[in-house]
Amino acid sequence: MDTDLLFSINPGSSEPIYRQLVEQLRRRVASGQLVAGQEIPSVRELAQALAVNPMTVSKAFGLMEAEGLVERRRGLPMVVAAQHQKAMKTRGRVELLRPVLAQAAAEARQLELPPEQVLALFKTLLEDKGETR
């Protein structure tokens, strides 16, 4: 499994790396890109591939497990947990966007922007499938 593709790091973010990892996995499980039984790279593999402190990766894995995203198996690689048979319904998936959109909404209010203009910008971004930045 290509760990570089499964996880990535966005340096310079105020989001700590462990949370970036958890959220990436959460999104992939929600969208059905990863389903029950699929293997997750080990702490060692991921720490080496991303050049990230192993303790940071362990912490992310601990949270993924606590959240029921993955299951630990004695002596074997971790896998996506059994309950994640297929993609979440869109209603559940869209809820995953709530925190970032709530943040964007707060900033839009601070900037005193008219909602139509903000929504138009969001629409443009949604349609721009290529570059994200």
Binding site: P11, G12, P16, A47, A51, A106, Q110
Partner: protein
């Protein structure tokens, strides 16, 4: 606060009370890799560059040392390694005085100085052979692997290597004897992004395979962010703040707004003010709240999470 966040280091101290210095040295396995107490260091006639610094590193910690230019990072690292005598205070490495290291202690230390201090007339290969003779342990496979991966010709004189190659050679020399404590002073300044990433992987390997304790200073914060689990800020001669990065990201917020609102928010949410900058109408306070306890921002009060760079700017202004 620094102390409260380092539970791993406490057991080492309990041993010292009744024991003689020798017994303490014998118990070096339990002693922290670095313990500095009451350190004061003058530098080039400037008194108190390091001023009353107490610090300890727990085994296996990877700590990034941050501070502005001239804050004394190099002076501190040199003093910790026993290369510079403090005006007051003491450093112990694995329980032994840093100023009087025996061969066994030297073998446990690896150091990459800011300026690679290598013998320029030696060929790279001979230089490594020379250093090899001083150490009981030397990982030839690692040395060979890194020399070829990092493109350092063994038959080239050190003085004729590029800055980047010299720096890489200095890193190889510091990793070769598999130290338990690795101290790196701006180790990647002359490396390109690919070289830096490769170096970071090497550090991660050291930590995974040997549980090496690593202390390094760098101005390249994206590197620090990846590999340093703990961050320490050196400011005014002391460690102004040390905490795991994750904790800083989860708990430290920048508040901006009228002073009354700032104080009210801190009081209501049990915050601890780390620094205050008063910029006219919009003072900015750096405040630490228990996780999930930060106040919600509104039209008057700004409350923002910070990335490492912003945190550094706020803390060291």
């Amino acid at each position: 606060m620094t102390q409260a966040m380092e539970p791993a280091m406490t057991h080492a101290l309990a041993v010292g009370d009744r024991a003689s210095a020798q017994a303490l040295a014998d118990d070096a396995l339990g002693a922290p890799p670095v313990r500095a107490s009451g350190l004061r260091v003058d530098f080039k006639g400037q008194p108190g560059v390091i001023a009353g610094l107490d610090w300890a590193l727990a085994p296996g910690q990877v700590v990034g040392l941050l501070g502005r230019n001239g804050a004394g990072k190099t002076t501190l690292l040199e003093t910790l390694l026993g290369l510079r005598e403090p005006q007051a205070g003491e450093v112990r490495l694995f329980g032994q005085p840093a100023l009087l290291p025996d061969d066994a202690l030297r073998a446990r230390l690896g150091y990459v100085p800011q300026q690679a201090a290598l013998f320029e007339d030696f060929q790279a290969g001979d230089l490594l052979r020379y250093f090899r003779s001083f150490y009981p342990r030397w990982n030839d496979a690692k040395v060979d692997g890194l020399m070829s991966r990092w493109d350092i010709p063994r038959d080239r004189r050190v003085g004729q290597l590029s800055q980047g190659q010299q720096q890489r050679l200095s890193i190889i020399r510091a990793l070769a004897h598999e130290p338990d404590l690795l101290v790196l002073d701006e180790p990647v300044a002359s490396l390109d992004p690919v070289g830096r990433r490769d170096f970071l992987r090497e550090l991660v390997d050291q930590v995974l395979d040997r549980g090496t304790t690593v202390l390094f200073s760098t101005h390249i914060l994206s590197d620090l962010e990846r590999v340093a689990f703990n961050i320490a800020f050196l400011s005014r001669g002391r460690i102004a703040l040390q905490a795991p990065q994750d904790v800083l990201a989860d708990e430290v917020r920048l508040l901006a707004g009228p002073v009354g609102r700032l104080q009210a928010a801190v009081d209501a949410h049990g915050g601890q003010v780390l620094s205050r900058r008063d910029l006219g109408e919009q003072p900015r306070w750096l405040v630490r709240f228990a996780e999930g306890n930060a106040p919600a921002p509104d039209a008057v009060l700004r409350c923002e999470a910070l990335n490492l760079e912003d945190l550094f700017l706020e803390l060291t202004q």
